[in-house]
Subunit: 239 residues, 2 copies
DNA sequence: CCTTTTATAGTCGTCATGACCATAAAGGGG
DNA sequence: CCCCTTTATGGTCATGACGACTATAAAAGG
């Protein structure tokens, strides 16, 4: 960063791209917008936009998140910087450097595509292919990241409503990882981790369920998982 | 990323900053350069520079790494994107967005500050405080990152020369983590992990040592550690 | 020769975990 | 009304990983 006057530097456009995940009908969904103009007109893409002069990338990402989802309060949502994509050819028009973020939503707000976003839609993760720009790669990186973070953090509760059952929490893991977990073992592990979940004082959920009503829990104060909750058969996993 | 024509966007300067670590005399060292001009003239900073029009941030980081260290071949070195720092006020002159990288060197090349870098110096990590810009924060983030990666990857061998003893490998962990480890247990864990290290066919190291000569190993093909090698007493570690 | 130093081998108890089995409490269909 | 299905919850058991620790081997130095 030395010698600004000695070196020429090119101005870049800086954007943020968001990989916003939620779980809907037991499947992982991601928020996509349909592009209205070239390049990639008609193709789906991750929501995002330019970083404004007086805001950081984090601020821009949270602003875009609010705009695209139409949610009133996005301050409590989990938003995390993923990485920055800066290949020279990633946008055919100009040099764009994009800072990618990942966000987790408890449940999909039905009315999305709030203010200006043309068409925003929750798409099953498995169907979100052939996106514009390098968004396939960004989305894959984001999926890998949240999968890994479920292992050693308490992030899974961010996918859940304020009160949830252990079965719902387990479904978060199974949905993101694409595996099945043993229910008693999952239960033992979660309850043995201090601060992961807390039982809500006098509640059990009766009406909806088919079987025995499940106890309700809410997210605890812990943020990390020690020891971690590793994915099954995760032998040769990428670093 | 939709609607380029509808939104104004500000051009940003994009730079890379490098946190380059090595182990020297049993202590963690980081490569710093002394700033020649304002702002922060005379202060130490992380090496870095502008991303050129036709290169990615990764390419720019590797180029800067070669320039600052004076190494002929930096292709084999571990270089990893850390995160991007984009706070509006982080450079008093202009809007600069910086992509930070972390690099690991096996042993410090004595002659550094190769081509144009004014004064580059290996500084003990504990003494690298009060850096220019937000580099204190970047350096702390980088340190936390490599400490965490040692837990679940085979990255530690990147700090070692091509052939090394298990004692040297253990010192990498102890130096980065600032802890001490039990030698037999560390040995058992490393040797029990397939592909972490491989014994070099007929070698033992005799001359330098004071005690019993140690067997030589080289880095194996594995990249991840399952199960991980967790830091001792790492209860409330940040996510 | 004895001490120091470092490397290497093994032991033992604890804890986490995967693979199960068993029971409880709801709804649905005959 | 009984039985079957479904889901939640409680428990066992064996294995494996790990921390703490002891013991032996092989060098250098006085």
């Amino acid at each position: 960063m030395d010698g600004y006057d000695k070196y020429a530097f090119e101005p870049f456009a800086v954007t943020v791209d968001l990989a916003v995940f939620t779980i809907r009908d037991g499947a992982l969904h991601v928020l996509l917008v349909e592009r209205g103009q070239e390049p990639y007109a008609g193709r789906w893409a991750l929501p995002g936009g330019f970083v404004q002069p007086e805001e950081s990338a984090e601020t821009a990402a949270r602003r875009e998140l609010a705009e695209e989802t139409g949610l009133k309060d996005v301050s409590g949502l989990h938003l995390e910087q993923l990485r920055t994509y800066s290949e020279p050819g990633r946008d055919p028009r100009m040099r764009v450097v994009s800072v990618a973020f990942t966000a987790l939503l408890p449940d999909a707000p039905e009315a999305h595509g709030g203010s200006d976003a043309a068409k925003a839609r929750w798409t099953p993760y498995d169907a979100a292919r052939n996106l514009a720009f390098d968004h396939d790669r960004i989305l894959a990186d984001a999926h890998e990241r949240i999968g890994a973070k479920l292992e050693y953090t308490c992030l899974a509760t961010r996918f859940c409503p304020p009160e949830f059952t252990l079965g719902e929490l387990q479904q978060v893991y199974e949905t993101v990882w694409g595996t099945t977990l043993d229910r008693p073992n999952f239960r033992r592990k979660v309850l043995a981790t201090p601060g992961f979940v807390e039982a809500v004082p006098g509640g059990a959920r009766l009406t909806g369920g088919r079987g025995k009503p499940a106890a309700l829990y809410r997210a605890g104060p812990a943020t990390t998982l020690h020891p971690p909750l590793l994915r099954p058969t995760s032998e040769g996993r990428p670093a």
